[in-house]
Symmetry: C2
Subunit: 668 residues, 2 copies
Amino acid sequence: MPSRFELANAIRALSMDAVQKANSGHPGAPMGMADIAEVLWNDHLKHNPADPTWPDRDRFVLSNGHGSMLLYSLLHLTGYELSLEELQNFRQLHSKTAGHPEYGYAPGIETTTGPLGQGLANAVGMALAERTLAAQFNRPGHAIVDHHTWCFVGDGCLMEGISHEVASLAGTQRLGKLITFYDDNGISIDGEVEGWFTDDTAKRFEAYGWHVVANVDGHKPEEIQAAIALAKTQDDKPSLIICKTIIGFGAPNKQGKEESHGAALGEDEVAAARKQLDWPHKPFHVPEEIYQGWDAREAGSARQADWQSRFERYAAAYPSEAAQLQRRLKGELPAELGGEKLIQQAQEAGESTASRKASLACLNALGPQLPELLGGSADLAPSNLTFWKGAKAITPEATDGNYLHYGVREFGMAAIMNGIALHGGFVPYGATFLIFMEYMRNAVRMAALMGTKAIYVFTHDSIGLGEDGPTHQPIEQLTTLRSTPNLATWRPCDAVETAAAWNAAIKRHSGPTALVFSRQNLAHQERSKQQLANIQRGGYVLKASVRKDKVVTPDLILIATGSEVGLAMDAAAELEGQGHAVRVVSMPSTYRFDGQDEAYRENVLPRAVTKRLAIEAGHRDFWYKYVGLDGDIIGMSTFGESAPAGDLFKHFGFTVANVVARATALLG
Amino acid sequence: MPSRFELANAIRALSMDAVQKANSGHPGAPMGMADIAEVLWNDHLKHNPADPTWPDRDRFVLSNGHGSMLLYSLLHLTGYELSLEELQNFRQLHSKTAGHPEYGYAPGIETTTGPLGQGLANAVGMALAERTLAAQFNRPGHAIVDHHTWCFVGDGCLMEGISHEVASLAGTQRLGKLITFYDDNGISIDGEVEGWFTDDTAKRFEAYGWHVVANVDGHKPEEIQAAIALAKTQDDKPSLIICKTIIGFGAPNKQGKEESHGAALGEDEVAAARKQLDWPHKPFHVPEEIYQGWDAREAGSARQADWQSRFERYAAAYPSEAAQLQRRLKGELPAELGGEKLIQQAQEAGESTASRKASLACLNALGPQLPELLGGSADLAPSNLTFWKGAKAITPEATDGNYLHYGVREFGMAAIMNGIALHGGFVPYGATFLIFMEYMRNAVRMAALMGTKAIYVFTHDSIGLGEDGPTHQPIEQLTTLRSTPNLATWRPCDAVETAAAWNAAIKRHSGPTALVFSRQNLAHQERSKQQLANIQRGGYVLKASVRKDKVVTPDLILIATGSEVGLAMDAAAELEGQGHAVRVVSMPSTYRFDGQDEAYRENVLPRAVTKRLAIEAGHRDFWYKYVGLDGDIIGMSTFGESAPAGDLFKHFGFTVANVVARATALLG
């Protein structure tokens, strides 16, 4: 029977070997945290390598994602489908073992990590999802949702601001089943952290209401064991276990130094480490008894089988709950959602309203069908209008709610949403002003990268927000969203397109959606049945070009989104009065439009019609994509100003007169 | 003599009147913090309303910027050039009294605030600048730089992650002259904060090494006075004074509630507040004796005159120091900078190197001439290569350094840089990987909005960073930077353009500059004297289109930046070999290129030449602006992958073969 130290050394050896072979990577964290990981994975982690999607598994998040070889080693050693060959292909194209753990690349990777601090936030989201799902579905004697979330963090994670946001919220929410290990090795890339990081971290987390186990020797299994036991007894506080470790433990000349952090140790040092660790085996060779010591397949299958039989008893006793839970865990929508009906009804109602208000109406209509919705706002609920009629705040006392008051924590919110979505059972939506997308920006990108189903409600979408002024007025933000791969962005022009946008967001399973709404009222637009159907295509002809009552090839196309569609329609009417055949294209989602086939796109924007004028109260440059060098753009190229919205639209040229003038110039 | 309460009520009345008149704004914070502000401004703040640029004034930052009427009232009452009429035009177009305090709009506004938490970061930057400048210039008996930085923060600021980053660093740096007041009113937009914000804030800040004065009644001047006195005795710790306040104090039916936070109180409630506060005056009327109680002009002028005479004694004793200090405070560059020489030398050296390495060479060359450079990196100095030969870390023990180890705190870094730049005397530069621009994104935007001279060093600029993979590979980030108004972005193609970019950044006084550098080597490009000069124009013809040894109108233009310029040059050579006249345009800065006159731009990109192929390892859509709908773009439209850089460039089509193929297709 191998010793714990020998088992841990398998992680160290695989990590340093893989980094050495790739001549790229981070051996320090895996070698430093190997002993902690060994105790956690061998004695505590509830998982089944044969089924990485088992819903009631514990979640494990490596927030210090640069230590990816730690995770890959663990997955390989415990029996996941991750071969030695994959480990040998660390950081190579098409391998499952990317530089940082990438969700979907290898089984058992619960989330993509690397951008520091976000893994901790994901873990908070997972722990919140677990508690909420348990509260919604568990019944007396049937604890079918009951697992822990474990997280590793490094110094970098704890310096990042997002760690404050999510640790604070986790404390307030009393997430007792979240247990985090801090790899307190005193080293970051610039060197010894005491020059830039002198927090009393234990005290800081106690201030958040966490249970802190401090001064654990991260290389002594018995101390780690005792700390975990203590943490597990804490039902109503998240735990932070502060482990003193030596970065690069085992590399005799580089351990404890920055040199072991982010580069291959070098052949000589790897050899020296083998001696130091008494690990005489060849590179990438793990002796059979070590594999046996790690193998978690049998225990994992037994655990899952036990859960399965418990779940069946639950399903027998609570069939509708079980069916709903299974549906939600699969990410399937209810059969009768009524999204199309909602669009139809909005068209019939013909209401002119702010799209943020229309959004609330959508939530009120769809919410009752979608118990998986887990909403929230970063302290702007009364402005974002996201607290719908059926919303109920999640608190430590009311854990079965469906709405989180995230507080003024945009970045934390978006990264927690990723954790909630990855956990499963929920579709998170979260709101803030469009401009504060910037605070949460990288978590939105991570959602797009991972393909999580997160829905962002971004209100106050332009200079139209008025008096709050340039700090609050988005200019370049739409461009950023639209330039993000795999992010579906919608900026609807009225209540009808708003319903279509929500419908599309709910039905999208391959990635996040950004819904961009106005603060101010937007005029309702009339549509034919075909036009109504075409909204889903992202861009469509809202007004045909007409001359002498006949639809003709347009002399000019106006392209607009959101609040500028009404303006385009008014300008088109005036231009038509002057004898010009003007088409208006409403383009609520360039993402969707770009995904249409060539024929449809040509139909909406015929190549032959080069006189095109795009109108949007966002940064103008984005629109060259659709108007080319022969067209024109009425957009923003400066920051906004503080004034009532009407004054601002006039000041920046969003008037019928200006559109007509610029169109006339184009028409020549 | 009016009482303190009456003086404070002038703030309350002006604030509620202005918000009422605009029917927009935030009365709650000004009314809640009026008593604190009154004590601070009347008894402690060292300033001179007649000269808001006096270098040794105290700095005052309203981090909860939505309470702008608090600041406008203070400026008006104490005698700054901010008339009652301006207060009556609160939140109107072209007024000085924007919805949030906008730097440069009214005298006495030290920074633009509104996006929460950043004001605190600015204040940390100002306090750091003060201490560093003092250490560099003060001499025994000559404390010519010696002032406090005061900051007001609300619950929102303290929930934001950035508050963690900067408070932690301020504690580590022991910034004893930073004194912050926390408006602990228990209310945020979603309601009573106890549902989402339960931090023990005193304990949290103690964990950062701050001196905390807790449980101060923010409506009792004598308690505020005592707390300030205590804070001023702390030389080596920043102070947090936690003031219990009532939001909207004085509005009988709305105080203490969210209703008073972000909307006009309403005529009835304003009238009721007048009664409650015993303030019988008409709207916007301030009695003369109240004005007298506030007037800070005489005392301010005396203070400044005293400083001026002390400065003159200093100048007599230390003429060269005084001259340098004056130059730096004016934001002027030394007469002999040698930026052009540097470009010239780089061209002559002809070295092929990574642009991040070329950047370090620039710092080594320019640094000794520029003692105002205050560098730093968010814990990536060995990768960003920003710690130049003359860099010296700023620590509590070595306060006269010129380099900050910011730790893993990107957002904090960028917002601190804004504070440093606004304080004066320094040109801050700060570095991280380009992808982590996203963590600091909104502070970069704030720099552009305010026009602060901040220089960002963004290295690892594309998939060219290789193995770290998609989380670390920028795609859409260049588009975001280039779409930000007033931000000058450079992505140089070799050491020569790198020198030109640094030279431009140093010489730009109207806003920030983003320098985007490669991790990997870039081939040196040959240039004529004219080409060398043209780099400053942002885009220029690097290779003329030649047929039979004659320069001819190009059949096709290749446009590229950074690492793709070398690729374009190689492809052009191959295309030329096939008989095509191909021009290569290097476009290191679209910002600079767009600022050239029409004739120059037409010369580089003649309208008649519609066959254009842009090549950049960033998001493709940006380039429609220069190639239109008749051109083509080789760029990224997906996320990257983890692999060696060479494999990735090949995988994503950045090869001579692909450029030639796509060019050939365009040529038809």
